[in-house]
């Protein structure tokens, strides 16, 4: 095999182009750093490479359902039941080409292409609060976050202002407000529940979700406001929601400082023992299988929590026999996700002459209300959960038994059906050292690289919390007059929330953590890890906005370090 060693020395290398990689690329390039951005998958150009963005159900052979033949390639990717269909399957990996191993079931959902999961993400955008940053310390669990809210707040501002977040300010200590565009509207039945919760409960409220969609008239380069088509995961021709493809990568490109190289799987960070620093990365070109080395002064690993940990584990040297920066032995451990799909649904009699306009790419949100002190504290579990959900008028087709057949059936099914609402809790998962990933060198992928093995599970705290997630949802709906209220609990497995995180946690002590407060490897300061790997606890809110804020902050730190070295 050829090993080419391009002579060009970059200032920075960014590994990955998803939520974190896109932000690293933008920030580093805008600070004048010559940046090589490496992506293991294919190119996806904004708009041009969204083949299904304008397709209606009848434009697909089976209205959007995938065939048995196609499903065989995505048996793991289809475990969610909602992510892979004819409109989106090209943005999820082929499980036959990208296998992994499960000591315990783990649902590893991902896309290998430029933009990564920023194309298909759920767009819910929330801030962590000091209740989250202090939680481990107060509970004596795992290690303390080396960061507090005040330090990260300006970076949340910066992220929100660039991506555009729509939402409502609430003044809640557990869910800090941000820089929001106008909120989307609740529908009649959601608003009914909101009013009812306000009357029945002092400890909780219902709001509209905070989502990374443009709803203001403010100008965003190359993007326009949400058109309410709700086809986000196919790629948006309006660039109305935030993705790397529509937002950060074009910004990086405009500086002239970015070199973007698709089909480039990074498998090792090269380490120089004399200087104590990383010198670059080793790459396999996935099309030619050629091995290539690229050099840079600073490396940003943004490949996702599992892939970045995997790269560090493969980066072995005399100094780091267990993986780069892994003196603590925590690398690959403490995997967290959010556990969800526990809640309730119910139907509502009323508002029969009301409907809604637009397909809102968002739902309702009930922020965390457990374990916030005083009467909210729970005996059976630590931390908390928020509810996401929504109401809609259903298809009659689900309740047409009475309609029989013929002319009256035809008429009934073209009309809006009854109202139904659903609530699902998103619960915080605690960090457990024994929830881990490892590498299997006996099972190699088609490029000869080791495969990932997962060994993680929900434990007592999560199971106890789920009982409350179901019961509180049932109670709120019942009190608000909903009918046929049914609780449900479908735990799935870790990974299903597609928020896997925690594999290279931050901390104050190199003996118990992998990264420092600036997202640098404690022991190799020119390597930054800014994807979900760094999370010390999971909070109960969707994490992507936090990755953006920490990435921007780390990029500022890295650029400053380079500047200092130059002037020294």
């Amino acid at each position: 095999m050829n090993i080419t060693k391009p002579d060009e020395m970059y200032d920075a290398i960014v590994v990955g182009t998803g939520i974190s990689g896109g932000w690293a690329a933008k920030e580093l390039c805008e600070k004048g750093l010559k940046t090589l951005v490496l992506e293991r998958g294919r190119m996806v150009k904004h708009i041009k490479d969204y083949p299904t963005m304008n397709m209606d159900p009848w434009d697909f052979k089976f209205k959007g359902q995938i065939t048995q033949e196609e499903e065989k390639k995505q048996l793991k990717q289809s475990r969610t039941g909602y992510t892979t269909n004819e409109a989106t399957k090209h943005f999820f990996v082929n499980d036959l080409e990208h296998p992994y191993n499960e000591t315990k079931r783990f649902d590893w959902m991902r896309g290998y292409h430029v933009g990564g999961r920023s194309l298909m993400w759920g767009r819910q955008s929330y801030r962590l609060s000091d209740i989250d940053f202090e939680a481990n310390k107060n509970d004596g669990i795992a290690v303390d976050w080396p960061v507090r809210y005040a330090e990260i707040a300006p970076w949340y501002d910066k992220a929100e202002e660039f991506i555009g977040v729509s939402g409502e300010t609430l003044g809640l200590p557990q869910l800090p407000d941000g820089k929001f565009g106008p909120p989307m509207e609740l529908n009649c039945v959601e608003d009914h529940l909101k009013q009812n919760i306000a009357q029945n409960y002092k400890d909780r409220l219902l709001t509209i979700g905070r989502v990374a969609h443009i709803t203001s008239t403010k100008s965003f380069e190359g993007r326009s406001s949400c058109q309410y088509r709700n086809r986000c995961a196919r790629g948006c021709p309006f660039g109305a929601y935030f993705s790397s493809n529509s937002s950060t990568l074009p910004a990086a490109e405009r500086t002239g400082n970015m070199t973007l190289r698709p089909f480039s799987t990074v498998y090792e960070v090269m380490y120089d023992e004399a200087s104590g620093k990383a010198t670059g990365v080793k790459v396999i070109d996935t099309e030619t299988s050629e091995k290539i080395e690229f050099k840079a002064k600073v490396i940003f690993l943004c490949a996702s929590a599992i892939a970045s940990a995997s790269i560090l584990m493969q980066s072995k040297s005399d100094r780091f026999p267990n993986g780069l920066g892994n003196d603590s032995g925590e690398l690959g451990h403490n995997i967290m996700d959010h556990h969800f799909q526990a809640g309730a649904s119910g139907s509502y009699d009323g508002f029969e002459d009301r409907y809604y306009k637009g397909r809102r790419p968002n739902g309702l949100y009930i922020p965390r209300f457990r374990n916030l002190g005083g009467e909210t504290d729970q005996k059976n579990f630590k931390r908390g959960y928020g509810y996401q959900g929504g109401a809609s008028r259903e298809d009659w087709s689900e309740s047409v038994a009475e309609m029989g057949y013929g002319k009256e059936l035809k008429e009934a099914i073209t009309e809006p059906g009854g109202w139904r609402i659903g609530l699902t809790g998103f619960g915080e998962c605690l960090p457990y050292h024994e929830n881990k990933m490892t590498l299997d060198y006996d099972k190699l992928d088609k490029w000869g690289l080791p495969t990932v093995t997962f060994d993680a599970e929900w434990k007592e705290n999560e199971w106890e919390m789920r009982k409350d997630m179901v019961q509180q949802a049932i109670d709120m709906l019942t009190k608000a007059g909903f009918k046929d209220v049914e609780g449900y609990d479908r735990p799935g497995a870790p990974g299903l929330g597609i928020h896997e995180m925690g594999t290279a946690r931050m901390g104050r002590d190199p003996k118990t953590s992998v990264l420092n407060a600036n997202n640098q490897l404690h022991t190799v300061p020119n390597v930054y890890v800014t994807d979900g790997s760094f999370m010390v606890s999971a909070s109960c809110v969707n994490p992507s906005l936090t990755y953006m804020a920490f990435t921007a902050r780390a990029a500022e730190h890295a650029a400053q370090q380079l500047k200092n070295e130059k002037s020294a």
């Binding site: 299904t52 009848w58 209205k63 009301r354 409907y355 637009g358």
Partner: protein, 210 residues
């Protein structure tokens, strides 16, 4: 082109998203040629004929297109062939066989020789059955069956078959271009969002098709 081949070809190749934007368009163009008879790929010829007859009862042509104007029998046959999992496939086939046996014992002739009024009669018996009878059919359907002989209970099998056909037909009909764009509320680029408005501002009593 042989219609069987058309459907087969559509099932192959990854380029269909670009190459075959609409199965219905293609099938409709075939249908306009009266010399070609539809040959099912999944069902037997008799059960294909039965499916068309039953669809004519469930979603007939009125002032809007009926199931057979939109080639929904062909769609269901090819859906069963390519999308349904083996369990669904077996259930659907067994249901179709149960229905044909039931037809024969009811009218003392083969379903292939059945007339529209026969199909109307037998469909009515099951899809307009009293609620307690429907409950009984469902119980018998979900009870443990001999996997070697799943079509033994022709009554509950017929009920199961007709409800499956109805469910698939409603879904296929509503998600067809003719209905989705012209009969239901088609609003491809809403441009704005309103949470709670009267029908007069949101579809005039029609459900959103997208």
């Amino acid at each position: 082109m042989n219609r069987r081949q058309v459907i087969r070809n559509l099932g192959l190749g990854a380029g269909y998203m670009v190459a075959a934007p609409s199965l219905f368009n293609l099938l409709q163009s075939c249908k306009s040629d009266p010399t070609l008879e539809w040959e099912p790929v999944f069902l037997t010829a008799t059960n294909g004929y039965v499916l068309k007859q039953v669809l004519d009862v469930i979603i007939p042509k009125t002032d809007t297109p009926g199931a057979n104007d939109l080639n929904i029998a062909q769609f269901i046959d090819s859906y069963m062939n390519e999308v349904a999992d083996p369990k669904e496939q077996q259930k659907f086939k067994a249901g179709a066989n149960a229905f044909s046996l039931n037809f024969k014992s009811t009218f003392d002739k083969d379903a292939a020789d059945g007339k529209a009024e026969d199909f109307e009669k037998i469909t009515e018996k099951y899809l307009r059955a009293a609620p307690e009878d429907r409950k009984n059919f469902v119980e018998r359907l979900t009870a443990k069956q001999d996997p070697q002989n799943p079509e033994i209970d022709i009554e509950s099998g017929s009920y199961g078959y007709l409800t499956s056909v109805r469910e698939l037909a409603i879904w296929a009909w509503k998600n067809s271009e003719a209905i989705g764009e012209n009969v239901m509320w088609y609003d491809p680029i809403p441009g704005s969002q309103k949470g709670c408005v009267p029908f007069s501002e949101a579809g005039n009593g029609k459900a959103m098709s997208l």
